[in-house]
């Protein structure tokens, strides 16, 4: 019998290796495939298309004799899979990640072959027509970026893949690199063909040991196919900010991962000062499909508004059915969390949902009808980011999450611009004082210290101290400064989780029903 078990990092972290060994010991052939993305069922065992999960070594005998109570039926017909439109993840669960044979048998390399026939101008034309936008978070049209690099003068150009997927709640890049590495490499080779670059770098975070191993192996195995294009994995070193494209380029050059001021855009002066395409893993991996016969039109036909095609959405955090759900843009949060995700893992009511990683806004259940679309999220003061959705139940204290957002920004700030470097530290302090006032008997959030009360401190107020509402006004003001004054999205977007938590759950910040917060925010907006 052929037993198929994923060798994705999530499956391995849950004991898939031991399980595979146990089946092999019984004399069965075990094939290690990519993951279907149904993480609550991992490790998932597949026999003739039927699934069993989450399986442990103790289930082996029952699975083999057909009496296991962990049977989920035909995997392809499972509602979680059947409801998806998988383009980027078309091979998920179906192929062996490093098998060139499996890749070619499922349409691999046809996009690259066609790209080489039609040439640069036509490739860019098709990517433009598909409406593909950068999947890293900013949503910039990929075709326009490519056209800029193609038009830039220079003997040397680069393709850089941003695989520094640092956002909590996201794992699609990791799954793609571990499950379908050749798709990413093919996408990069096509990009090279389009802009006239013969050298590519994949900047991969050090927190993903499995992905590093797989990508390096895949690059060795397919070097002859993508030649003369050459590609190399570069491992990050634990800095979240290196997911920002200019700091990523500095890091690749062997410098501190500090953000560069734009302009010049990386498309004009990028890696080592050369014109450079910097695209996210999912953007590049979507390209082979688009370059297939009629792929651009198919892609353009999906989605809504200016958000075309599909988005691999990642359901994470306190959710019952967590995993990867790729679907056309336009799906609502309610569908994603209630119908597909099955509510919280803990069984308690959903309190908040963070979309777009640590820099994304916390969305209240009242707003769950919002459609997955770049423009709708921007209008709601939120962001799609990399498509990660983290669910929190009602035991979560939102002021502690707001504090964590600031703490994270302080820990990961590159230090180049003041609003982010100092603002984040001050943000933690202000939120700490607000939280302390909530728990203490007197309602003063911040007492004047001895130095401030000295007669020589002419400008310091000599009153009792700041009230919580004054601290909230201060936090609001600080967030404004960070939002508009920071050089990159780290400092610029940290206010989103902070302010959304404050606006939607004021009762977690101050005593009583939180009406004070509303008054402060109304005044700030007026």
């Amino acid at each position: 019998m052929i037993i198929r078990i994923s060798d994705d990092a999530a499956a391995r972290a849950l004991g898939a290796d031991k399980l595979a060994e146990a089946f092999a010991k019984q004399g069965h052939e075990v094939q290690r495939t990519s993951s279907w993305g149904m993480h609550w069922l991992e490790p998932l065992v597949e026999i003739d298309g039927r699934g069993f999960g989450p399986a442990t070594v103790d289930d082996v005998a029952a699975i083999l004799d057909g009496s296991s109570d962990k049977a989920i039926g035909l995997i392809e017909e499972h509602p979680f899979i059947a409801r998806q439109q998988r383009l980027t993840f078309a091979r998920a669960g179906k192929t062996r990640p490093l098998s060139l044979e499996d890749y070619a048998a499922t349409g691999g390399w046809t996009g690259l072959r066609r790209a080489r026939e039609i040439g640069s101008e036509q490739i860019i034309e098709e990517v433009l027509r598909s409406g593909l936008r950068g999947r890293g978070g900013a949503g910039f049209p990929a075709g326009i970026k490519w056209r800029t690099v193609a038009a830039a003068a220079g003997p040397k150009k680069y393709i850089v893949c941003n695989a520094d997927e640092g956002d909590s709640g996201t794992f699609a890049d990791r799954m793609l690199m571990e499950g379908d590495p050749y798709a990413l490499i093919e996408g990069m080779a096509i990009a090279g063909e389009a802009v006239g670059a013969d050298r590519g770098y994949i900047y991969l975070r050090s927190e993903y040991p499995d992905a590093i191993r797989k990508m390096e192996a895949a690059l060795r195995l397919c070097a002859h196919i993508i030649a003369p294009f050459q590609c190399e994995v570069r491992v990050g070193a634990g800095a979240y900010v290196c997911g920002e494209e200019t700091s990523l380029l500095n890091s690749l050059e062997g410098k501190r991962g500090e953000v560069r001021a734009k302009p010049p855009l990386p498309a004009i002066q990028g890696l080592f000062g050369r014109p450079t395409v910097v695209n996210n893993v999912l953007t590049l991996a979507a390209v082979p499909h688009i370059l297939g016969e009629g792929g651009a039109n198919d892609y353009e036909g999906l989605g809504m508004g200016r958000s075309k095609g599909t988005m691999p959405i990642q359901l994470a955090g306190n959710i019952k059915h967590g995993g990867l759900f790729e679907t056309a843009f336009g799906i609502t949060l309610r569908e994603l969390i209630e119908d597909i995700g099955g509510g919280t893992q803990s069984g308690r009511p959903v309190k908040a949902v963070q979309v777009g990683g640590p820099l994304g806004a916390y969305i209240h259940p009242d707003q769950f009808d919002i459609k997955f679309d770049y423009e709708e999220y921007t209008a709601a003061d939120a962001l799609i980011g990399h498509g990660g959705i983290t669910v929190f139940d009602d035991e979560t204290d939102m002021s502690s999450m707001a504090r964590f957002a600031m703490e994270f920004c302080a820990a990961e700030s590159c230090g180049k611009c003041t609003p982010c470097r100092i603002g984040a530290v001050r943000g933690v302090e202000v939120i700490d004082r607000i939280r302390a006032a909530r728990g203490s008997a007197d309602s003063i959030a911040r007492k004047r210290d001895v130095v401030e009360l000295q007669p020589v401190m002419h400008n310091a107020p000599k009153d009792n101290g700041r009230l919580p509402e004054q601290e909230i006004a201060l936090l609001t003001d600080l967030c404004e400064t960070m939002k508009f004054g920071s050089l990159c999205a780290l400092g610029g977007f940290t206010p989103y989780p902070v302010m959304s938590a404050l606006r939607n759950w004021p009762e977690d910040f101050v005593r009583g029903d939180g009406r004070v917060v509303d008054l402060v925010l109304d005044k700030a907006n007026a």
Binding site: A9, A10, R12, A13, L14, H39, W40, E42, G166, D167, S168, G169, T170, F171, D173, R174, S206, E207, Y208, P209, D210, R234, V235, G236, A237, G238, A239, Y240, S251, L252, E253, G254, K255, R256, G257, E258, F272, Q314, L315, A316, G317, N318, I319, G322, G323, Q354, G357, P358, G388, T390, V391, F392, D393, T396, M401, F404, F408, A411, E412, C414
Partner: protein, 143 residues
Amino acid sequence: MTDKTQRIAEILAAHRNQEGPLLPILHDVQEEFGCVDDEAERLIAAGLNLSRADVHGVVSFYHDFTPKADPRPEVQICRAEACKARGVEKLIDKATKAAGDRVHIATVYCLGLCSVGPAARVGDTLHARLDEKALVHVIEDAR
């Protein structure tokens, strides 16, 4: 020539043909010696024709490079949002106690196992869906 000088010279030579080789070199040095100390910084700076300040600036910027080797085994626990949502904070006290002085507990922000947290990493081995018992077990097993 000491062993260390020799080894670092070898690492530098292995990366001679790379563009922007500093990070790959630092990874190799960190892996080999468990740290990138003053001596290593000096040797790398000389080898790449950089100032020592340039190299130190890079070493001190990244979380993965440490100035001093820690002989204890390290267990990295993810404490980012998704793992917080799945209750990692409730496990930290027990984990710290289980680690004692023998194991170094480090915080990491995201191992990409956000749907199956809480998650931890020891070396290149990942662990997910950890409850108190499982995490204590991981820590006790860390070598």
